[in-house]
């Protein structure tokens, strides 16, 4: 059934975006925007693929992808948190840095074979009609998001660490009064968030596409940043939003594979049109949900 297939495609293709958007949620809840998310995904995609190819172990690849993303995220954190550099300019530079580094070092891995993650239908759950097909017949890394998204929600809202992150994002001076360093909390949040973006990139290369190619994230990192805004910085909304975008990306191939005549170029633009429409419709209203410290960054 077409709708089921598009939704299945949404989960399949939305997972990489979700990792990145969850990571960006974490960073922004601490008061830092990372426009370099796209770059973090790219180094994660290459790092993951390269290490999987060299070691023969895709799980090590995932780990490497997360570490590569974290390393690039740490650069962002040092620049904007410790050196007080402009968040947007630094983020964009980071994106180009990621693109350049991965084009340079990735050439050797274009077309190279590497082990990856194949779909593993979950027992029982995978047999549920419709829902099982949509959610439970994917690769193991996709299942990981089923845990990571709620875990991030729990951490942010129910743990001390989450409280520190939220405090860094809402009222940094309060943190200071209580003897904590907002800079340290933000550095940790940005780095961990970038690690998630790297994980998303690694999912893209080792589980979704089973290949590395320069620029293969194709804007997913930017979609993730936009998504965080209209998911109002809430992990579970981010989860739903990622599937929406995944589905938007899946519409074109799903319709074409079934012989429906629609303009493919218009369909290819769909995810970006959706982003623009959401942002335009929500407008400044989105800012109301923004962490206080972040609003200062946005509404200068």
């Amino acid at each position: 059934m077409l709708v089921v297939d598009i939704l299945t495609g949404g989960v399949r293709g939305g997972t990489a975006i979700m990792f990145a958007a969850l990571g960006e949620t974490l960073a922004e809840r601490a008061g830092v925007v990372n426009l370099g998310t796209e770059g973090c995904m790219l180094v994660g995609a290459l790092g993951g693929y390269a290490v999987a190819a060299e070691t023969g172990n895709p799980w090590l690849g995932l780990l490497a992808g997360a570490l590569a993303g974290a390393a690039l995220g740490l650069v962002h954190a040092v620049a904007v948190v410790w050196r007080r550099a402009d968040q947007f300019a630094t983020g964009l530079t980071l994106m180009f840095l990621g693109l350049g580094l991965t084009s340079l070092f990735g050439a050797a891995y274009v077309g190279k074979a590497a082990p990856g993650f194949d779909p593993v239908p979950l027992p029982l759950l995978g047999d549920i009609p419709i829902a099982g097909e949509i959610l439970f017949r994917h690769d193991p890394v996709t299942y990981l998001t089923f845990v990571v998204a709620p875990l991030l929600w729990f951490t942010l809202n129910r743990t001390k660490a989450g409280l520190l992150v939220r405090a860094a994002g809402e009222r940094a001076d309060v943190l200071h009064v209580h003897g904590h360093s907002a800079d340290l909390v933000r550095t940790a949040a940005v780095t961990a968030g970038a690690a998630l973006a790297g994980l998303g990139g690694a999912q893209l290369s080792t589980a979704y596409a089973h290949a590395w190619f320069e620029g293969m994230t194709a804007g997913r990192g930017f979609i993730a940043v936009a998504l965080v805004i209209f998911a109002a910085w809430r992990p579970l909304w981010v989860m739903a939003g990622s599937y929406l975008f995944g589905a938007a990306l899946a519409v074109a191939p799903a319709l074409q594979a079934r012989g429906h005549a629609l303009n493919q170029f218009a369909l290819d633009a769909l995810p970006f049109v959706i982003t623009l429409v959401f942002l335009a419709v929500l407008g400044r209203r989105t800012l109301r949900a923004a962490p206080e410290e972040l609003r200062r960054v946005f509404a200068r």
Partner: protein, 378 residues
């Protein structure tokens, strides 16, 4: 004083450059009006990386075959050359280094190639895969092999192998080369399995692995059991098909190592001999007026096709092999598009008994009956 230093530096630079291109300076005085004659170097530009296991790798290997065949020539190569004015810039820099023969190997390099040819009447510029319309400059040409012929043969293997009667084709853009391939694949499959259909999905990119993954997944979900493609990078689709336990027809490269169970056959290149012959013709000063000074096409009918059929996989039985051999014999006098050929609406486009020439085939802008999918209207 500063001016003098600058002048000296320029002079030194000029000397260095001419030393670099020593051979050319001498030979160009021999006969500037004969394009390509006595060139000291040959330039090749590629739209992608030279190791993409696909289109660009095949072209790169062709350039290395030229290097081997002409040890006296310097072979200049440039990867990742975009299909815009940058291509002209790169070609010009190769010409500055002494190349009087330049190969622009991507379909979209044609405009830049013609521009360079107009600026440098003493340089032979040949373009791979596109078609010059209107008058051909005396120092330019296009060349290609009839890749749709081995694709047609691979279609026979697919038509015999499919159990569901549904084949899948993942392609980049609806350019004539690709349309020919998709049509020929379906026609080949139909020749042994009349009710078979080919579902065509475009990714709008020569290499976007994520889009390829989604395209392959959707084809597989709706029952397609043989997938082929026209993409520059091919691993994603092949791996997805193999992981689903379905069958693969390759393109560009032999991917049987990543599809050991499902590999049927495919089409690959062997550009070396053709490239070398073009270089030889140009070096001898005989380019203008030769068969390469136009839209040169070669296939089973006219000679050695630079496209060769890949080795068979285990799933292709003796009966299929002999069907393909017989079809290959027929192609020496016929064509995959021998009439009657009907389009998707059932209208006869090639009348019964007609064998269209290469140029007519390259202008086909419709899917044949049996292809499911639509071409974007422009």
């Amino acid at each position: 004083m500063r001016k003098i230093i600058a002048g000296a530096a320029l002079a030194a630079l000029a000397t260095a450059c001419s030393a670099n291109t020593g051979g050319t300076a001498a030979s160009s005085s021999g006969g500037t009006s004969v394009p390509g004659k006595g060139s000291a170097a040959v330039g090749f530009i590629f739209v992608g990386p030279k190791d993409d296991y696909g289109y660009n790798q095949a072209a790169y290997q062709g350039s290395q075959a030229v290097a081997k065949a002409f040890p006296q020539l310097k072979v200049l190569t440039a990867e990742n050359v975009p299909e815009d004015d940058n291509a002209a810039r790169v070609m010009n820099s190769m010409i500055a280094k002494g190349a009087k023969i330049v190969f622009a190997t991507s379909y979209g390099h044609l405009d830049a190639a013609l521009k360079v040819a107009a600026e440098h009447p003493d340089v032979v510029v040949v373009q791979q895969g596109n078609l010059i319309t209107g008058t051909t400059p005396r120092n330019a040409g296009t060349f290609f092999g009839t890749v749709y012929e081995p694709v047609y043969l691979a279609g026979i293997a697919a038509g015999k192998a499919t159990k569901t009667g549904k084949l899948g084709y993942v392609y980049a853009f609806p350019i004539s080369q690709t349309i020919d391939n998709i049509d020929a694949f379906e026609l080949g499959a139909q020749s042994v399995n009349p009710s078979v259909r080919t579902f065509a999905v475009s990714t709008s990119s020569w290499c976007d692995p994520a889009k390829q993954a989604e395209a392959a997944a959707n084809l597989l979900e709706q029952g397609v059991d043989v997938i082929t493609q026209h993409q520059d990078c091919t691993a994603t689709v092949v791996k997805a098909t193999e992981a689903a336990g379905k069958m693969t027809v390759g393109y560009h490269a032999d991917a049987s190592s990543i599809a050991p169970k499902g590999w049927l056959t495919g089409s690959e290149w062997n550009w070396g001999p053709l490239y070398s012959d073009i270089v030889r013709t140009a070096l001898d000063g005989g380019f203008t007026g030769s068969k390469y000074n136009g839209n040169f096409r070669v296939g089973y009918k006219t000679g050695d096709n630079p496209f060769v059929q890949s080795a068979y996989g285990p799933a292709v039985g003796a009966e299929t092999r002999s069907l393909i051999e017989a079809a290959k014999e027929k192609l020496k006098t016929g064509s995959p598009f021998a009439g009657p050929v009907r389009d998707q609406e059932g209208k006869v486009r090639v009348p019964d008994g007609t064998i269209p020439d290469y140029e007519t085939i390259e202008k086909i802008d419709y899917f044949v009956q049996g292809v499911v999918g639509s071409l974007p209207k422009s």
